[in-house]
Symmetry: C2
Subunit: 313 residues, 2 copies
Amino acid sequence: MRTIVVALGGNAILQRGEKGTAEEQRKNVKMTASQIASLVKDGYRVVITHGNGPQVGNILIQNEVARGEVPAMPMDICGAESQGMIGYMMQMSIRNALREIGLDIPVVTVVTQTLVDRQDPAFLNPTKPVGPFYDERWARERQEKYGETWVEDSGRGWRRVVPSPDPKLIIEGESIKALVDKGHIVISTGGGGIPVIQDENGVLSGVEAVIDKDLGAERLAVAVGADTLMILTDVNGAAINYGTTEERWLGKVTLSELKKFEKEGHFKKGSMGPKVAAIIRFLEHGGEQGIIASLDKAIPALRGETGTLVVPG
Amino acid sequence: MRTIVVALGGNAILQRGEKGTAEEQRKNVKMTASQIASLVKDGYRVVITHGNGPQVGNILIQNEVARGEVPAMPMDICGAESQGMIGYMMQMSIRNALREIGLDIPVVTVVTQTLVDRQDPAFLNPTKPVGPFYDERWARERQEKYGETWVEDSGRGWRRVVPSPDPKLIIEGESIKALVDKGHIVISTGGGGIPVIQDENGVLSGVEAVIDKDLGAERLAVAVGADTLMILTDVNGAAINYGTTEERWLGKVTLSELKKFEKEGHFKKGSMGPKVAAIIRFLEHGGEQGIIASLDKAIPALRGETGTLVVPG
């Protein structure tokens, strides 16, 4: 039986322009859940991970606005909250979608920590923007008061940036694998996982950082011994010369071809870049295939009818 | 090997008078984690559940205060957030505490839904207060606008009340048991679990309600096939004639004795009442022993040196 890790993009939970009400999220998650159910019906063992940007962004705003009444939580705890929130909606929806097609399979969310290297150079150079835009005065005050890093973003205002260290290990990997091996559907490593570091005695602690969810998905795929890593997003796959007249969407490519394109700078940082990087890593760690496809085309993509399929070689 | 479900009271995470900062919670959870680690060291297989009152209360306030900027989430989603938050802090702390004594055992939080009967009479009679006190005008507006139920609380102001239906089934029970059987330490059913109902087709949906965490713990104990249910709280055990000159703390009692005391009205609703009810149910469902003890005396209580120990008979 094939084991597939599905990395869901933000559009699996929230569509562009939506504000993030519970109704919107539940509606989108329900649609996503029926996609997942089709994969399960087709005989795949499915492990799910997802982004959490808009959700953790909203939780951060709530913490900020209510700071006078309720102590604001640090980012690692906010991330954990978003895993609970999204995981709950997903496990319920997927269970419901499976039942609808006559399948009674346990679906469960595991709160997940992802180990990063405390010496990761990313900690010296925060680059990942989080939360909303504020004015310069706010940014300066936060910088002084809390030691946060804020940057001006091309005239749109000031935004906090945090380190985006490289994920090393899924701390709960053994538990997740035990469940997957039992045939349960597991949702985990939400938002790339809660970033934690380890001291010289192996003691874990949370850090204020954000892990790329696709790179986290790769670590998850290795942890559960998946053969396929499928990244579902809002475009049909990876393209070279993207946005130019020479634009060409990639169908089936080999690892070495993809690495060549990556080296040539075809994939944008912060969007297609980490997706391609995750799939390259996955194949280099023994994965059999990597797929980048549109959220609503998971099944055709697995059949090679659409999307970008990356194979060893 | 004995399997023990430990139900942690609010004081395991937050002490009376504390505001609920991350530092306070982490400090308390760390102390609790060392208790749990001692149990594991003594050879018990441990499953953990916990209250979430102050945490979900704070999340509800944040949602309310920030409502103008971020869509407020319903109570089931806030409960899921609190499970993520508390579970994360606990799984990290327990793992650290185990490592400190040389044990390398997976610790994991499962986001947990608890099935309640949609016909539960509690839905017609909301009684469980949630969130902070407000004035009458606020309460009336919320009643009209959102159909919530608010009650005046003995001169302290108005407070929202929600139904507290009886927990029937831990939806993720099979996954939790699979992990426990593997020897992993599982944290689940936080705050009694996220209350969900099932329609005639088996489709789940969340409800605005609160499940008693001790009654939820009983369902969890049955789901994992535990032999011991231990409820840790801020008093030394159950007492009869509590608060009178005839007060007597209960040591070792039989199920039938405890049921007699319960019938006589010795245990206060909302405090010792549900703890005693949970233990009675547990023994009636085949549990071997129920314990009510002080959080810092888990080990002596298991040795019968302190706390209330309830046995069949």
